[in-house]
Structure formats: structure tokens, C-alpha cells
Amino acid sequence: MGRFERWISGGFRRLFSFNPVLADRLALSGKSLGKIIDLFLATWMGKSGTMIIVAFLAFALGADLFLPYDPSESSSEILEDVSWDHWFGTDQRGRDVFTRTAHGTTASLIIGFVAMAISMILGTVVGLASGYWGGWRDEVIMRVNDVFLSIPWLVLMIVIASIWGSRDLFSIIVVIGITGWSTTARIVRAQVLSIKERQFVERAKAIGSGEWHIIRKHIFPNVVPLIFANAILTVAIAILSESTLSFLGLGPQDVDTWGRILDEANNYSAAIAGPYAFIIMPGLCIVFVILGFTFIGYAMDEVLNPKLRRR
């Protein structure tokens, strides 16, 4: 946590302090991170989003430390309703649903962040390449991008997941990651197209900077605020994708996730016969985690890209 935060803040300091255009656009000085966080937390979305996600992190960490049950331990009390012993009831094998839900949090967050990282890296590289090169290469990349935008994500994921065969955590993350890059590529490309016409890029070219240098030092830093907000939203989408895949029986088989709990609940027709908590509670967790990341993403977008219209 600490390292991650320092990494991000370090990254931001470097990016913003050496980037006059961006600093100007944000009306911020060199030491901007504190201000960004202040601005971010001043929005109600930033505040509540952060609170929700922190609560879920506590939920995930607390699961290992405080809960009396083993998430995989079966018992004879099957499909019981909510009680003081079992806050969310029990499942078809007598496992405590609250414990399973708490442990599922970790899997969801891991899937969300790793899949996001894959999508972001792919999307940024493709977007940078396509926007910077332009011409026929841009045309080709954009057509391929269209394909990924057009295929219903669920169908693509279903097909890949079912043909792939192996259904462990890693392959599901890869499936979600490689189906989610196209929107990012679009956003990055659009931004690159506008930045590469700016004067500071012309100037860099005029003094003989190399392509790689221009992309790395001048274009990429200006794309980062855009993809940063987008990345947080992508985490939400990845978590949603995983739960949908798991619910359809195509999720990871080696970890317990919220979608899988819901799939089991549905298979034992808990929606009609109860216990209703078996369905309601894991689902509510999904809704709130997604809500939390969406809030943070929107708040980030507002703070980092004040002049951009919200999507």
C-alpha cells in the first residue's frame, strides 16, 4: 500500500513538475500532488468513493484476521437463513456466506487491478502508436480497434474463455485484460492527435529530439491524466466482467469470487426458494465496489481534466 502510493505520488511529481503545459492547464505549480489530492477529496464523489474502497480493503484484510469460519469448510447447516451465527446465511454445502464474501473481496480486487493494468498498457501503447504515426498505420490499427469495439464484450470473453479451456485466475485476468483495451486506445489516440500539433512538440522536433524522446517526454505525460481516470473506471468494469463471467460458469475455478457465489446461489434457486441473503449480499458487494471505483474515476476525471466534458 505504502509503496504503491509512493510510486504513484513519485510518478505524479515527476510528471507534473517538469511539464509546464500540463501544470498550466491545471493551474497548478510544481508541487501539485497535495493540491490534486485536496481537490480530489473536496468532491463528494472522491470522498465517498475513497471511503467505500477503504471499507472494502478493510473487509478483505479483516476476513483473514477476524472471521471464525474457514471459507471452504462445509457443515451440515445448509442453505440457512440469516442469523447471528451466519450473518449472510449459509450456502448449499453449509459454508458461511459472509466469510466467503469477505474472502472473495481479495480476488475481485486483484482481478480488477491486474486486468486494468493489462488493458491500460495495451491501450496506451496502441493509442500512442496509432496517434503518433498517423497515416495508413493509424488506419489499420483503428480498423482492428473497431473490431474490438464492435464485438459484444461478453460474447468475445465467452468465446475466448470457452475455447481457451483452462480457467484459472490468471487466464481469466488475461481474457478480461485483452478485451478491454479498445476504449483506452481511442481516448489516448484522440489526445495524442491534438498534442502532437502543439508548439512544444514542434519545438522539440526542431531541436532534433528523437521520436522516442518526444513520445516519452512530451506526449506520454500529457496523456497520463486522461488514462489515470480511465484506469480507475476500467477497474470497475473488470470487476463487473469477472462477476458476469463467473456467474455464467466461465470464471476462475481456483478462487472463490462473488460471481461464483451468485452462480451457486442461482443454481440452487435461492432467488425463488431462499435464502435470499445468499443472492442479495454478494451482489450488493459488487454494486458498491463498482460504485466506489466509478466515483473515484469521475472525481479524478473532474480534477485532472477539468475542461473535458464528462463521458
Partner: protein, 326 residues
């Protein structure tokens, strides 16, 4: 304007190229994955040797890859989409009626999403910062990220599990042929559609509401709105003649982009309510590793979205003269 034809041509060309690429991806996906198609077919639990042989023959697996590739395009365009392993009939016959049920569901829900989303978004923007706005945006944000399948289950808990009001499965009473249609049958179809439709509409309307609101809020700050008010037009006239017309533009694009998402939602809804459209057959095909079915569904899904986007582009060019060729 003369350039409208150019735009039309370019957009159609792009759509066509996209479809060709989708087919290429479809071709590749079923061949580059671990295990060759023949092996995959051997794995399928239901396929008889004869069917496997016919499909291998159809896919031309004994030919070289380039030949297979050309054959695949030829087959797709001539309507030869293979034979389902599980149903043992041509894919198109299995899915023929399923497609119409899915289109019915998608069509009605898209119209409802559009109409309700615009109305609520407008209300929200007009009363910005007041109670209706807060309630509508609040609900919008809450439903925005809600998993469709979970919302369907919650509706099921309420209306089927507790109130016993609505049927939980199927598109109509089973065992009855659809044709000839009678009023009773139509009513039955309607009742069976309530839960799937509600799920889809509530799930997707949130995005349109939020977008319409933000778009309208932006438009309302434009100079021409101030001018319109200054001319002495009533709020209703300004809204109707100036604001909503312009705020509508991004909705068209988004709704088309959302087709992919709505389709994804339809799949989930169909699975939960055993509504035997494309989505239900997809899950069925996965369980039985029915590759010809999957391949066709993949193709048709992509084509549907491409066409939806093309239509939206064209509508947009018509609605907004400022749209340029990109």
C-alpha cells in the same frame, strides 16, 4: 450537400471492413487456440462421428490454412454456417426463431431506454440541484454499475419468490405454438416479457439518463439558449426547440455504442429467465462445446453492433450538419 454521399460511402466501407476483420478474428480464434479444431470436436460430448466428419469437411481441415480461410469467407457469405453438434441441425435453423425473440427484446428495450432516459435526463437537467435531480442522478449512479444478472435475480426474489406475481421462465406458456397469434397469446408473451424488459431497461437507462443530463446541462449554458430566453420564449419552447434537439446528439452515438452492452445484458437476462433467445442458446452451446453455434453467434453479434453503429453515424450526419468526415 454533396459530401453526404461521400460520408455514407466511407462509413459503409469502414463497416464492411470491420465485418471482414471480425470474420478473420472469428476464423483465427477457433484455430489458434490450444488443440486443433478436430481435437476440439472430439472433446465435444454430443457430436456424432458423422457430424464431426461433415463439419471437418465443411471447415476443410484437410486443406491448407489459406484455402480454409478463403473457404470460410465463401461459406459465410453463401449462408453455410455449419451444423450444430448438439441439435444436429443447421445452426441457422436452430437460431432462426431465437434471433427473432432476441430482436423483439432488444428492440423494445432500446426504445424504452431511449424514451425514458431522455425524459428523466431532461427533468433532471431542468431541476438541476433540486430534489428531482438529486433523486434521479442518485438512482442513476447506483444502477449504472449494477450487474445485470444480479438485478434480474433481485427482481426474481421480489416478484417470483415473494409475491408470486410473474412467471419466472420462458417467453410464453410452454407447449403452445406461437402461430396463429391470438390476443391471449400476445398477453401471455407480454407477461413473460415484463421481468426481462424491466431488467434491461433499468440496467441501461441509467447511463442514458446521466448522459442526457450532462449533455443538456452543457447545452443550457450556451449563448443561443440565453438568446432564446431573451427573445421571450417560454421555458418549454426553449427546451423543445433549442436545447433537447442538440442534447440528443451524443445520446444517439452512445446508444449505438451501447448496443454491445445491451446485447451482453440480453444474454444474461435470457439465461436467468430461460428466455430462449440467442443468449440462452449461447450458454447452451458453451456447456455442450458446440463450436459451430459459438462461431455463428460471435459473427452475428459483431455484425449487429457494426450495423447499429453505422445507422447511428448516418442518423447523426443527418441530424447534425456540423459532423465532419473523420
Amino acid at each position: 450537400m454533396a459530401s453526404f454521399r461521400m460520408v455514407l460511402f466511407k462509413r459503409c466501407m469502414n463497416a464492411f471492413i470491420t465485418i471482414l476483420l471480425i470474420m478473420a478474428l472469428n476464423f483465427a480464434l477457433f484455430r489458434i487456440m490450444p488443440g486443433n479444431p478436430a481435437e476440439l470436436m472430439q472433446r465435444t460430448p454430443y457430436a456424432s462421428d458423422y457430424l464431426i466428419w461433415r463439419n471437418i469437411e465443411r471447415m476443410g481441415l484437410n486443406d491448407s490454412l489459406p484455402v480454409q480461410f478463403v473457404e470460410y469467407y465463401k461459406d459465410t457469405f453463401t449462408g453455410d454456417w455449419g451444423i450444430s453438434y448438439f441439435w444436429e441441425t443447421p445452426v441457422i435453423e436452430v437460431l432462426g426463431s431465437a434471433i427473432s425473440w432476441t430482436i423483439l427484446l432488444v428492440g423494445i428495450s432500446t426504445i424504452l431506454i431511449f424514451v425514458i432516459g431522455m425524459a428523466l435526463g431532461k427533468l433532471s437537467a431542468q431541476r438541476r440541484g433540486k430534489a428531482p435531480d438529486i433523486v434521479i442522478t442518485g438512482f442513476g449512479l447506483f444502477f449504472y454499475g449494477m450487474p445485470v444478472f444480479w438485478f434480474a435475480l433481485v427482481l426474481m426474489v421480489i416478484f417470483v419468490g415473494n409475491l408470486h406475481l410473474l412467471p419466472s421462465a420462458g417467453y410464453m406458456e410452454s407447449g403452445v405454438p406461437v402461430f396463429p397469434l391470438t390476443v391471449d397469446k400476445l398477453a401471455d408473451i407480454g407477461v413473460h416479457m415484463i421481468l426481462p424488459l424491466t431488467t434491461l431497461v433499468v440496467g441501461s437507462v441509467a447511463g442514458v439518463v446521466l448522459l442526457m443530463r450532462n449533455s443538456l446541462v452543457d447545452v443550457l449554458t450556451e449563448d443561443y439558449i440565453v438568446t432564446a430566453y431573451a427573445k421571450g420564449l417560454s421555458e418549454r419552447q426553449v427546451m423543445k426547440k433549442h436545447a433537447s434537439l442538440n442534447a440528443r446528439l451524443p445520446i444517439v452515438t452512445t446508444l449505438a455504442m451501447d448496443t454491445a452492452f445491451i446485447l451482453g445484458g440480453v444474454f444474461q437476462v435470457e439465461v436467468i429467465f430461460t428466455y430462449k433467445g440467442i443468449g440462452w442458446y449461447t450458454i447452451n452451446a458453451i456447456e455442450n462445446q458446440d463450436y459451430p453455434m459459438l462461431q455463428f453467434i460471435f459473427f452475428i453479434g459483431g455484425v449487429a453492433v457494426v450495423i447499429a453503429n453505422l445507422l447511428a453515424d448516418l442518423v447523426l450526419v443527418r441530424l447534425d450538419p456540423r459532423v465532419k468526415i473523420t
